[in-house]
């Protein structure tokens, strides 16, 4: 599903990550069958276009964070290709991958855990520059201070000397953003970057991330469980369920015409900050099942309000949603061959 009309920065094909389950020696010896695996990511495909914010959303255990780590090859895929600007990084040697990493960065959820508590903020931000460039200490300091001013850690000279515990949560996340951007990457994977921030700080961080993206021509993979926040930053979005991408498309299309029953349920479940628009919601039953032994056929079928027999038998593929471009969903009843079975 490569995209001819767009400049694609990252193309992910058949991406799969299975984690083996630790078994003790005896059960390994006695068990005839194949060792069990957690199927965290199972055949995921999408493109990230240069300059866009591509969102990846889903509940815990959907595999969205694992995809983010795979895209940077912080963990090796079990199968599949990750083509970054024409190079398949899934097959690169560790040394070549290290070179490549200068072009990509990651921002984690918890800014406190991502900053070395014993390193001054300025040194922490400049650490990547030290690794990825030959800049002298003075040059490095200038680069770091400029970036700190840029993200709003002003006056930079003052904040340079501070330690992480002396900063507020919002300031720490700004420092983490500055550290990610100071090496001038092309791709930034942001894994729940504002989930820990308070409401009043969140809007400021989102605005900062959008401004930086424009000014530095960045591309974001924005991983979130919060569909409301995704709305303010993502151009396109993919919805994951139990290791599978179930729907992908322009954010507007996905939100206004959700074409997978899971996407529909997710959007319905988001609380609306308006006491006058309360409504009884038909919620799917139960919780996300165990990825060790995912349901047969469509993995959502045991919880799906629309499920018919075929849903438990055949696994649906991502297919185009009628009447739109680039909007795909993996559901027999909306985009698959069994549309005639869908309840009206």
């Amino acid at each position: 599903m490569s995209d001819q009309n767009h400049d694609v920065l990252v193309q992910v094909k058949g991406l799969t990550k299975h984690y083996p389950i630790q078994q003790d020696f005896i059960s390994r010896l006695l068990s005839a069958e194949e060792a069990k695996k957690v199927r965290a990511v199972d055949g995921v495909e999408f493109d990230i276009r240069r300059g866009e914010v591509f969102g990846l959303a889903g509940e815990s255990g959907s595999g969205k964070t694992t995809v983010g780590r795979l895209v940077l090859r912080l963990t090796d895929p079990t199968e599949g290709d990750i083509i970054f600007d024409g190079v398949n990084i899934a097959r690169l040697s560790n040394e070549d991958m290290r070179q490549m990493r200068a072009r990509m960065q990651i921002i984690f959820q918890d800014p406190f855990a991502s900053l070395n508590p014993r390193m001054r903020i300025g040194d922490g931000i400049g650490h990547g520059v030290k690794i990825h460039s030959d800049a002298t200490a003075t040059e490095r300091r200038t680069v770091v201070e400029t970036m700190m001013e840029y993200v709003g850690l002003t006056p930079a000279k003052l904040y340079y000397e501070k330690y992480p515990h002396q900063l507020s949560g919002g300031q720490r996340q700004r420092a983490v953003i500055a550290r990610a951007l100071v090496t001038r990457p092309e791709l930034v994977v942001a894994d729940e970057p504002i989930a820990m921030a308070d409401v009043s700080v969140r809007a400021l961080l989102l605005e900062l991330m959008i401004r930086l993206k424009e000014d530095f021509n960045l591309t974001y993979l924005f991983i979130t469980h919060d569909l409301a926040t995704a709305k303010y930053i993502c151009d396109r979005i993919g919805i994951m369920y139990l290791g599978k991408l179930v729907e992908v498309g322009d954010l507007r299309d996905v939100y206004t015409h959700p074409s997978h029953p899971y996407t529909d349920a997710l959007l319905e479940a988001v609380p609306v900050p308006d006491p006058e628009s309360r409504h009884e919601k038909p919620l799917p039953k139960g919780e996300i099942p165990n990825p060790i032994d995912p349901p047969s056929g469509c993995r959502f079928h045991p919880r799906c309000p629309l499920a018919v027999d075929v849903c438990s038998e055949i696994e649906p593929e991502l297919r185009p949603v009628e009447g739109s471009t680039g909007h795909l969903a993996a559901c027999h009843l909306t985009t698959g061959d069994y549309r005639h079975l869908a309840p009206k």
Binding site: E59, V199, Y232, A269, P275
Partner: protein, 334 residues
């Protein structure tokens, strides 16, 4: 109105001792919790909402300095000795925390948690009957009763949180304090849990104090909403009034900063300037004044009071209070 008050909080203050000095976590909060209501208590981290919740059960750390009154069924909980307070906890006032895994005993079966609770509370009940009641209870909570013998780690996050509610129900607690009880749950599970809470409230005539930072959640479920900022109560009224006829500038900003999922092209999130204050040395006057877009000279000098500005709509802001004469004509210096 006063006759259906379940718990009346009067001038409650809680301070914590830290290396930096005393932190004024809750400052002179007064409000009532009414029988049968779901009262949403919202605010950002560090605003004192959890400290307030814990103070209702008097489970703040021993170093905390607490003053005020907590009137509950005609007694002041603040005057009870430890043994009497232990009788209140769990049985009359129950608390559900964010992480149910830390509240359940990892080596005790789920059913045994409930059975033990029932037997302790009602010693006349037989073991068989207690087990039957536990089974009926988990069934009502949407957990299959053949999972009574599961250990907590075998249950999902949503189920664990249901068990916590079950423990409160088994004891017929009058008041449930739910402190970020849904925060660790995924959005669909959270919505399921909230639906369940609403049903249980109606069925068992529960009173719930729902402490959360999630404003959308509060809008979905609360009868009344209390907003805290920097240790003080900013605004309190029925949910519709707080959301639709918002009085306090902080609440106004907070509501504009909440993301929603409606697709609307012109919409932008409001960006509140500044950050919440350091409560070791809180700002003089109104604690929100350094960030407030409507700040007046009096705000920086004198604290405003938490007053009933409209019927049953309380607000803590000089905009709705008579300003002392000496500040009335002053211009804001700066």
């Amino acid at each position: 109105m006063a006759n259906n008050t379940l718990l009346n909080i009067e001038n409650l203050s809680v301070e914590y001792k830290t290396r930096m000095g005393w932190v004024s976590a809750v400052d002179d909060v007064s409000m009532e919790i009414r029988q049968g209501e779901i009262l949403g208590l919202v605010g950002e981290s560090g605003c004192g909402k959890s400290t307030l919740g814990k103070a209702l059960l008097r489970i703040n750390p021993p170093s905390a300095r607490i003053s005020g009154h907590l009137w509950f069924h005609g007694e002041d909980l603040m005057t009870l000795d430890d043994e009497a307070m232990r009788q209140i906890r769990g049985q009359r006032i129950s608390m559900i925390f964010q992480d149910p895994m830390t509240s359940l005993n990892p080596i005790q079966r789920m059913g045994d948690h409930l059975i033990e609770t029932i037997l302790t509370h009602e010693p006349e009940v037989g073991k068989e009957e207690a087990r039957e009641r536990a089974a009926a209870l988990v069934d009502r909570l949407g957990i299959s009763s053949n999972r009574l013998d599961d250990y907590p780690h075998q249950l999902s996050g949503g189920m664990r949180q249901r068990v916590m509610i079950g423990l409160a129900l088994a004891l017929n607690a009058d008041l449930i304090v739910a402190d970020e009880a849904t925060t660790s749950l995924d959005v669909i599970v959270e919505a399921q849990f909230v639906e369940l809470l609403k049903e249980l409230r109606d069925e068992f005539n529960l009173t719930i104090l729902l402490i959360t930072h999630n404003i959308g959640l509060v809008a979905e479920i609360s009868d009344r909403v209390a907003v805290m900022y920097a240790g003080r109560m900013a605004e309190l009224s029925d949910a519709r009034s707080v959301f639709k006829e918002t009085l306090h500038p902080y609440t106004q900003g907070l509501l504009k900063a909440v993301p929603n999922i409606q697709i609307d092209d012109d919409e932008e999130l409001y960006m509140m300037g500044g950050s919440p204050p350091d409560l070791v040395e809180p700002p003089m006057g109104c604690r929100y004044h350094p960030r407030c877009p409507k700040v007046m000279p009096v705000c920086a000098a004198e604290p405003s009071h938490f007053l009933e500005s409209k019927p049953d709509h309380f607000v803590n802001c000089w905009l709705y209070e008579d300003i002392p004469a000496e500040y009335a004509d002053k211009e804001l210096s700066e």
